[in-house]
């Protein structure tokens, strides 16, 4: 059996944030994951708190006012701010993040609805609808996941202050069965393609218009692509998130994965945690299914970042028993059998939506003994409704970062006590 200081289970934003922060502080960290996490599906912004249910302008103030059952109440605004600052420092070479807890940016989605978010890459920040007035939405023929007319129409409808119109470029992109955002990003990595885009667009733009592109301005060096377009078109240019695969989400994954490797941490995929060995109130090792085998991985600390129902971190059986799938931790907030579980309206507040693992102020699971060295983070947590609140990225980043800080503080304290 191998031994690490910390085993992190899950490789989404929460797990990677915890793992990278720990590894950068010298801890021996291993990440175990079934597969690649949800970063590839996220828009690449860090949404901390967008709705409560009113639209939030100042997320720092709003999250301090959340009820005590909300996971942000465990974290607190100061720790969220620290996590955002840390996240920003992971990005360099021009492709950096901007924004803060002070006030939300208001960025357009692909259907032209404004979305409040705390942090965005510089390639998106120019789309802040609080200051933009005239927009040209640019699409690419054959790209099935981004429709400029839909974006322009949505913007004009939802924001009286914005005038938007659309255009579509018919450019020769390598013929593929599926032409998606990643394919377009690879095309943008080619200088000739960028030059053609600039040439084709220049005559179509009016003075004063800013340009919205699908979030596919390069995968190799997005900052260079974005700068070249801004320079070549002589006006602000910004990216708007697309359907998956999300290129900005892939950039986040790549940055954190590389940071983990540089800090000496390891990432093992196709490793599914199916249980634990416990002694003295702690988990001593994880039982991990790898292919057809079961292996043991030992560690002093365990961070559970396996996600919610959609990611398989939580499971709900047909008899309405819910379980946390890695360690079998109790799940709070599941309606009693026979009680109403869903509301008829899609966008209603569903009773099941806030189910998850409840934790104390040290992110330890509540209602379960024998897990003193287990911290639970991210979408596995009870009490939030991220897709309605627009809080998922912020929760994952801040609880992952907080778990790392707690482990560092507590293991440091233990070492001092032993010394």
């Amino acid at each position: 059996m191998n031994q690490h200081d910390v085993l992190v289970v899950g490789t989404g934003l929460a797990g990677l944030s915890a793992a990278v922060r720990l590894a950068q502080s010298g801890a021996r960290v291993r990440v175990l994951a079934k597969g690649v996490g949800a970063t590839h599906l996220s828009g690449g912004t860090i949404d901390v708190l967008g709705y409560t249910p009113e639209r939030v302008e100042r997320p720092g103030e709003a999250l301090a006012a959340l009820p005590s059952g909300h996971p942000y109440a465990r974290v607190g605004a100061a720790r969220v701010a620290a996590a955002l600052d840390w996240f920003k420092t992971q990005f360099s070479g021009g492709y950096t993040y901007t924004g803060s807890l002070e006030e939300n940016l208001l960025l357009p989605t692909a259907i032209g609805v404004p979305k409040p978010t705390a942090l965005a890459p510089v390639t998106m920040a120019g789309g802040d609808l609080r200051s933009v007035t005239e927009v040209m939405a640019v699409g690419f023929r054959g790209l099935k996941d981004f429709h400029p007319a839909l974006l322009a129409d949505g913007l004009s409808r939802t924001l009286p202050s914005v005038t938007a119109r659309a255009t579509e470029l018919h450019l020769p992109v390598e013929r593929r069965v599926e032409f998606n955002a990643l394919g377009l990003a690879r095309a943008f990595d080619q200088r000739d393609f960028r030059r053609t885009v600039i040439t084709e667009l220049t005559s179509r733009l009016r003075p004063g218009e800013v340009v919205a592109f699908p979030a596919a301005l390069g995968i190799a060096s997005p900052h260079d692509v974005w700068s070249e377009l801004e320079h070549g078109l002589g006006r602000p240019v910004f990216e708007v998130p697309t359907l998956p695969p999300s290129v900005p989400g892939m950039r986040v994954f790549a940055v954190l994965r590389d940071a983990l490797r540089r800090a000496g941490g390891s990432l093992l995929l196709n490793n599914v945690v199916v249980g634990a060995e416990r002694s003295n109130g702690r988990v001593s090792s994880l039982r991990v299914r790898v292919g057809l085998r079961e292996e043991r991985h030992g560690a002093d600390w365990i961070v559970i970042a396996t996600g919610g129902f959609a990611s398989g971190g939580l499971a709900l059986d047909s008899d309405w028993t819910a379980r946390e799938t890695a360690l079998g931790l109790p799940v709070a907030g599941v309606p009693e059998p026979g009680a109403r579980r869903f509301e008829p309206q899609y966008f209603a507040a569903h009773p099941i939506a806030r189910a998850g693992v409840a934790v104390d102020d040290r992110l330890r699971p509540v209602g379960a003994d024998g897990f003193e060295n287990v911290l639970v983070v991210g979408a596995t947590l009870a009490g939030a409704e991220p897709w309605k609140e627009k809080s998922g990225d912020g929760l994952s980043l801040s609880t992952g970062h907080m778990a790392a800080e707690l482990v560092l503080a507590e293991s440091g304290a233990t070492k001092e006590a032993i010394a």
Binding site: G35, R176, L182, P244, P245, S266, N271, L292, A310
Partner: protein
């Protein structure tokens, strides 16, 4: 083996877990360089719904899947994408028939037996551009493809004459065809390294594991090879003796792929072997974790680039070679961040796929060119041959580094 584990053999059931998230598509090294392969999601879970049982797919783009297995590794929902696609590819081939080329390159034992006695002639012929052009025209094996060089002797022959010192700790060595016919010195070094660590090494008579036949869609023949090999190795497994292999793709075949892809879950010998077989670096690192590996390594003042092959990553064991090489003083290891070298066993040898394979590996080759290492370290023989072909940098198995650092061979 528990019922739960056997349940994963029902791979096709995993299709239902596909949520079309496209994560596999973003990681597919082949789809990333050619539109000829539409990507693992499209060719896999999406198309599988239209493939009628016992009928071949009408969509032949699946033929361009290299079988590297990265899609299965990255899938967050546990869909056995690569395995399903390998099965579907085999069905396609059943319908279209197998090329003579595929029948040849899928039988390394046959080519090995033919080429070994005539090694000087065979090697000269295979390096002759005119002959290779002829082979390309007649056999569709690309004229520049990295064919290995016959050693002119076999590892089995050496092993038969070699007596391993008695010890309570024993392993059985599954050396694979690459070691037997092309790199017998690697087999000798493995035996010497294990013996140096107080382990008696048994080398049972053995043949191909059937992996190249499986990759090329000849499942019936592949099952025959896998079963015969399992019968040779199973007595050790049943005795509680671990089986170690230096060919990482072939150990994966015995561990998992033959059970899953060839659906050999009722083969008792294979099940016994599957539970006892280890990649050599995985095994050596286990020894180290138990404090049983001699780590008084001599310094090796070199810079090497380490590339973990796709099939090695398919083991789900991380990169034990990196942990082992970290124990060697003076050795500067640059970890490659590229995913695939392109060769994927026999894929990159084929005339119509050679250019794709070279494009797939371009990222790795560029990393190596930039790092200017003294050598490349890589766990898979076909990957080493591809890397040497593309970069001109000598490529070795991690065992060779450990052998050297253990003072068992003289400096390079």
């Amino acid at each position: 083996m528990s019922d739960d584990v056997l349940g994963t053999l029902l791979m096709r059931d995993s299709l239902d877990h596909c949520v079309k998230c496209t994560i596999c598509e973003t990681f597919c090294p082949v789809a990333n360089v050619t539109p000829l392969f539409p990507g693992p999601k499209y060719a896999g879970p999406q198309s599988e719904r239209f493939r009628v049982a016992d009928e071949a797919s009408p969509d032949s783009s699946l033929d361009y899947c290299s079988g590297c297995g990265i899609c299965t590794q990255v899938c967050p929902q546990g869909v056995h994408i690569a395995e399903i696609n390998t099965q579907a590819r085999a069905k396609l081939r059943e319908k279209t028939g197998h090329k003579l080329r595929d029948r040849m390159i899928a039988r390394p034992t046959l080519t090995g037996k033919l080429g070994t006695p005539a090694a000087p002639v065979a090697n000269w012929t295979l390096s002759n551009p005119a002959f290779r052009l002829l082979v390309e025209k007649t056999m569709d094996i690309h004229r520049s493809a990295p064919l290995p060089t016959f050693a002119g002797r076999t590892f089995q022959r050496w092993a038969r004459k070699h007596t391993s010192p008695a010890s309570e700790r024993r392993v059985a060595f599954f050396h694979g065809c690459g070691t037997n016919y092309y790199e017998p010195r690697l087999g000798e070094m493995t035996v010497e390294l294990l013996e140096h660590n107080g382990i008696k090494v048994e080398v049972p008579k053995q043949d191909c594991c059937g992996l190249p036949l499986q990759s090329n869609g000849m499942f019936k023949d592949a099952r025959g090879y896998a079963h015969r090999l399992a019968e040779r190795l199973a007595p050790f497994a049943r005795e509680g003796v671990d089986i170690v292999g230096t060919s990482t793709s072939c150990t994966l075949m015995l561990k998992r792929e033959a059970l899953e892809i060839l659906e050999m879950g009722d083969d008792e010998a294979l099940l016994a072997v599957s539970s006892r077989v280890y990649d050599i670096c995985e095994y050596l690192l286990m020894l180290h974790a138990r404090g049983e590996l001699k780590t008084d390594f001599a310094a090796v003042e070199e810079t090497v680039t380490y590339h973990a092959p796709c099939q090695q990553q398919g083991h789900g064991i991380g990169k034990p070679a990196l942990d082992l090489m970290a124990l060697i003083p003076g050795l500067n290891v640059v970890e490659s961040t590229a995913s695939c070298c392109g060769i994927a066993g026999t894929y990159g040898l084929k005339r119509e796929k050679y250019d794709i394979a070279m494009k797939v590996g371009a990222g790795l080759f560029a990393e190596i060119a930039e790092a200017t290492p003294d050598r490349v370290v890589c766990d898979s023989e076909t990957c080493r041959w591809q890397i040497e072909h593309a970069t001109g940098v000598r490529s070795v198995h991690p065992v060779e580094m450990l052998h050297r650092a253990s003072g068992l061979s003289s400096p390079w």
